[in-house]
Symmetry: C2
Subunit: 336 residues, 2 copies
DNA sequence: CTGAAAGCGCTTACAG
DNA sequence: CTGAAAGCGCTTACAG
């Protein structure tokens, strides 16, 4: 293993000079010496030891990305989370930092890992509302949350205008002539995000003198796509349109409907959320609320690194816009 | 920050004794001292410094997971890769190790990262046939490849019986009365895996006196799902069944067909590969070749850690079995 | 069963 | 522009 010392000896300088050159502090080294050291480093295939740097400089260049784990579920099987993780990793690597993944069930562990590796920052995917306070209290590095709704002040969060997403869906259904609507999402699990989408949806309907009845709010903690279609089939006043909390679930609904002979959008219209590639390829391409996942990753990392550079920067949250993407999964119902 | 030294002082022992207790080498420490140290460590919220341990012991507890990156594509948007990554991460964490992700375009970089962090092992996702030799030459830690076909001896690879997968698909189509078949997959990109699936498919057909014509091998580097359906629609002797290289693409085909009024399996039958959840929820649930992604992750990690424990262990490769899962996307064509 | 010494490869904080 | 000294928090390899 080639070390700074080896290079220093062959260059006839001290370790410090080599260290300075390797770290790009070359304003303080003569260009001649610097060039010599650089070529020597290349020739000798010098690779700096990250552990040693981390120990001495207290700067690890490690960013932890933390996802909620469960014993039954693989968190990276969710396309939204894994896509976001992919973009975040790209952003982090581009800055010369490294990503360590942590799948956690319990948050007492996370402090251990963060501190043990002296992580310089962390990004949390998924919803961790309850634990935010606790996590922030124990970790004094920049912490970026995504999709969190929390009362904690001094929070860095990259979120979406979920409420507006709900409004857009309601508006679109309304314009297309739909009057009885439903919402489907997992209510307990994903916390704030889902309830905001539902709230925006129902408020926007209320403004148009429409109400979404409690029976038309399908809780995915209690039923799946097939159950929903069955329920609709038995419903004396069935909804003509459903707003699904995600494209992935919209697709499940779509397929469950097809299986049971309910045509989309003929008998039932659907609006999804996310605008994942899968929606575009459905037989009737999915009308959806688009969010910019890549943009979310970029913002998360921009803010994260701004805080790493300047720890005293006041915390800043970003709410990204969402957009209605009308495609073919919502039927046009002429009003008499 | 609490260090070994702090605990040692309060316990009235040397750092070495504390170190031994923290690392579980307690056979060499009196139970009384050990208990005292353990409770002190807990009280003081001691968290070992991984960088220091890594530097001193030359054991980092870091496993690198390496995926091929591209400037246009997000490798974690692929459900197979991200699912596998998730399971691998669970396995690694369970053993008290840490996962660092590396998305790489060029393999000269990977040696840098591996060495810099003193990674104890690496798992490669995706296909890296050409570069395997080079990677192995530069890195002398356990390296586990997945889905690789390579001539390199001394290779640790966790693969699948892709050829058999092709045979199973062919056999199933044949039994169901199909006589003109097609294959769809990206030929240049994914290297060996795809061509083995295709070869198994075509060989098994040949054994039944059927040939798959070159025009019926659709290369996804040159066309997409819609193009394939168009081609079939214009085909004087169209295939009645397509074997798609992945469930994800099978779903795209499925939807493209529906959009163009080609009913599945009425006019066109499809067999996928992987058995991802998405296939099960299609209107006609997808017949597919199942692979055990979780099992692949478990095997990869089992072998990886076996080699970390014993570096002289001879390299061992595993070929996991695949299985036909008949569902509803293949039509029964009665033979006259 | 326990400890003193040396060292892992780097950086910080000086001094010149 | 350059370097000698001290130290980051741990483990290895002894010695007793």
């Amino acid at each position: 293993m080639v070390t700074l010392k080896d290079i220093a000896e062959r260059a006839g300088v001290s370790m410090m000079t080599v260290s300075r050159v390797m770290n790009g502090n070359q304003d303080k080294v003569s260009e001649k010496t610097a060039a010599k050291i650089r070529s020597l480093a290349e020739e000798m295939e010098y690779i700096p030891n990250s552990s040693a740097r981390s120990l001495a400089a207290k700067s690890s260049k490690i960013i932890a990305v933390i996802l909620r784990d469960s014993s039954v579920y693989n968190p990276l099987a969710d396309p939204y989370s894994s896509t976001l993780l992919g973009y975040i990793t790209k952003e982090v690597q581009q800055r010369g930092y490294y990503v360590m993944i942590h799948l956690v069930q319990d948050f007492s562990n996370i402090t251990f890992s963060l501190r043990s590796w002296n992580a310089e920052g962390a990004v949390f995917l998924g919803v961790f509302d309850d634990e935010i306070r606790h996590i922030q209290h124990n970790n004094h590095i920049p912490l970026v949350f995504t999709d969190s709704y929390s009362n904690v002040r001094q929070l860095i969060n990259i979120g979406l205008d979920d409420y507006k997403g709900g409004e857009l869906a309601a508006g679109h259904f309304y314009e297309k002539g739909h009057r009885i609507l439903a919402f489907a999402g997992p209510f307990t699990k994903t916390g704030g995000v889902i309830s905001r989408r539902c709230q925006g949806f129902s408020d926007a309907l209320a403004r148009r003198a429409l109400t979404i009845t409690p029976e038309h709010i399908y809780d995915l903690e209690k039923m799946d796509a097939e159950d929903i279609i069955d329920t609709i089939l038995d419903d004396p006043e069935p909804p003509t349109g459903i707003f699904a909390f995600s494209d992935e679930f919209a697709m499940e609904l779509y397929n469950a409907a097809s299986r049971k002979g309910v045509s989309i959008p003929g008998s039932l219209s659907i609006i999804g959320f996310d605008d994942l590639p899968v929606g575009r390829s459905l037989p009737s391409p999915l009308t959806t609320i688009r969010q910019d996942i890549k943009g979310k990753a970029k913002e998360a990392c921009r803010i994260l690194f701004a805080h790493i550079d300047d720890p005293d920067k006041p915390s800043e949250s970003v709410i990204l816009d969402v957009k209605l993407i009308p495609r073919d999964s919502v039927k046009d119902i002429p009003q008499i």
